[in-house]
């Protein structure tokens, strides 16, 4: 093969590589556009539930059920189309200890801040969260509710944010902002969930384990309710219910 033939082959290879790169770039841009749309679509569903169903829908269980069904059907189908198995989403145990280790320091700091706040405002009451439930059922409910929220926030929003902005501060900030904004107009809870969102999103990007995050979510919620003055949290009410 002559030198000229080699050069010709090389330029063909380069052209093929450029075409592949362009196609990948277009595909990635299109994926990012779809991921943005997915995040917005999820936010719209939650806003419908928090603001419309509880205002003009009167909080009807049937209407709440319709919105929840639409939302979770959408989330599950999206996972299916993107070929995301449960293990990849964070339903796994192999990295539980690693995830718990990453959560330990921020949780310790949060605990100290909450205890200091509760001590200064004389509002520490570790039985405040009972709300008529037995102390055996309550932690299970808290952790299940935490698992549900973390699943939606991390396995869906965080993963879509990473498709758009990659891993790191940008996607973490978006996840935390979304989490905080969905707790509006409750200022205390918005602030707390934004801070929690930063920590949980960062940890998920390093060690995606939903069980450890759910445990952390349940514990921190209990601590928040037990230490922060009730008037500052207004019964954890969000959306239209905040005014009720």
């Amino acid at each position: 093969m002559s030198f000229a033939d080699n050069k010709a082959n090389e330029s063909i290879d380069n052209a093929h590589a450029d075409a592949h790169a362009n196609r990948d770039a277009t595909a990635t841009a299109e994926d990012a556009r779809l991921a943005k749309w997915e995040i917005v679509s999820l936010i719209v569903s939650i806003i419908i539930a928090e603001w419309l169903v509880f205002s003009i829908g009167g909080g009807s269980n049937l209407l709440v059920g319709v919105v929840v069904t639409i939302t979770f059907a959408f989330i599950f189908l999206s996972h299916h189309i993107r070929r995301e198995p449960p293990r990849e989403l964070g339903f796994r145990l192999d990295n539980f200890v690693e995830c718990a280790r990453l959560l330990a320091l921020p949780m310790l700091v949060f605990t100290l801040v909450c205890l200091a706040l509760g001590w200064f405002t004389s509002s520490i009451d570790f039985a405040r969260w009972r709300g008529g439930h037995s102390l055996l059922i309550l932690p299970a409910l808290g952790i299940m509710w935490g698992l549900l929220q973390q699943y939606v926030l991390q396995s869906f929003v965080n993963r879509r944010a990473q498709i758009i902005w990659g891993r790191g501060a940008h996607s973490v900030l978006v996840v935390a902002l979304v989490f905080g904004a969905l707790h509006l107009p409750n200022p205390g809870l918005t602030l707390a969930t934004f801070a929690g969102g930063v920590v949980w999103a960062t940890v998920y990007q390093r060690a995606p384990n939903l069980f450890a995050l759910a445990l952390s979510h349940g514990l921190m919620t209990w601590l928040l309710i037990s230490t922060v003055p009730p008037w500052a949290l207004r019964g954890l009410r969000v959306g239209f219910k905040y005014f009720g």
């Binding site: 595909a27 994926d31 679509s41 569903s45 639409i70 959408f74 993107r82 891993r167």
Partner: protein, 183 residues
């Protein structure tokens, strides 16, 4: 992990990469790009969800309107002067029920009562099955000058959690003289 090639989707740690092959996590693609068919399915899913949610919100709004506001109230404010405010009101969805009406003068609540006074002309006009759909309020003492009377039909909904006032007919303006009588 010892090689970027063995990185699995969802595994994000970079600490174990050998220095020679260490790659910033953010430089790795988070997921391989979707194929065209999957992209199309995801697009269709998003469009379908948007349509379903739009229909849900529209249905919620229309349903809320029909539950909260009664579109079947009919009535009129016939007289408003220094002595009385009178008219009739009927709920065409429940023609035998008596509508609760409230009188407001100059935007201030005056009195509430059931529209159950005798009005044979309303039944004769085919508006009601019986004669008792009229109302008559005694006008309270008012300062001299021009005033406005409005009568509202009351509609309760949501197990009486909401009570909505709907204007009956059109507001009537009237004048009260120095002696408290109609000008």
């Amino acid at each position: 992990m010892s090689d970027t090639g063995t990185l699995r989707r969802g595994d994000t740690e970079t600490e174990d990469l050998s220095p020679r092959r260490r790659v910033a996590a953010s430089a790795l693609p988070f997921q391989p790009p979707l194929d065209a068919a999957s992209r199309g399915r995801l697009h269709n899913l998003l469009v379908a969800k948007s349509i379903v949610e739009t229909l849900f919100v529209v249905g919620l709004a229309v349903g809320f309107y029909y539950v909260t506001f009664n579109p079947y109230f009919r009535g009129a404010l016939d007289v408003a002067d220094a002595r009385r405010v009178a008219g009739w009101a009927i709920d065409e969805a429940q023609p035998s029920a008596r509508v609760e009406v409230q009188l407001y003068i100059d935007g201030r609540f005056v009195e509430s009562r059931a529209a159950d006074a005798n009005r044979p002309d309303v039944a004769a006009a085919g508006r009601a099955r019986d004669d008792r759909h009229g109302f008559e309020f005694t006008t309270p003492a008012l300062q001299s000058g021009e005033h406005e009377a409005r009568v509202y039909a009351v509609h309760a909904s949501g197990d009486d959690a909401r009570r909505v006032l709907q204007l009956v007919g059109k507001p009537l303006r009237f004048r009260v003289g120095e002696t408290g009588e109609q000008d």
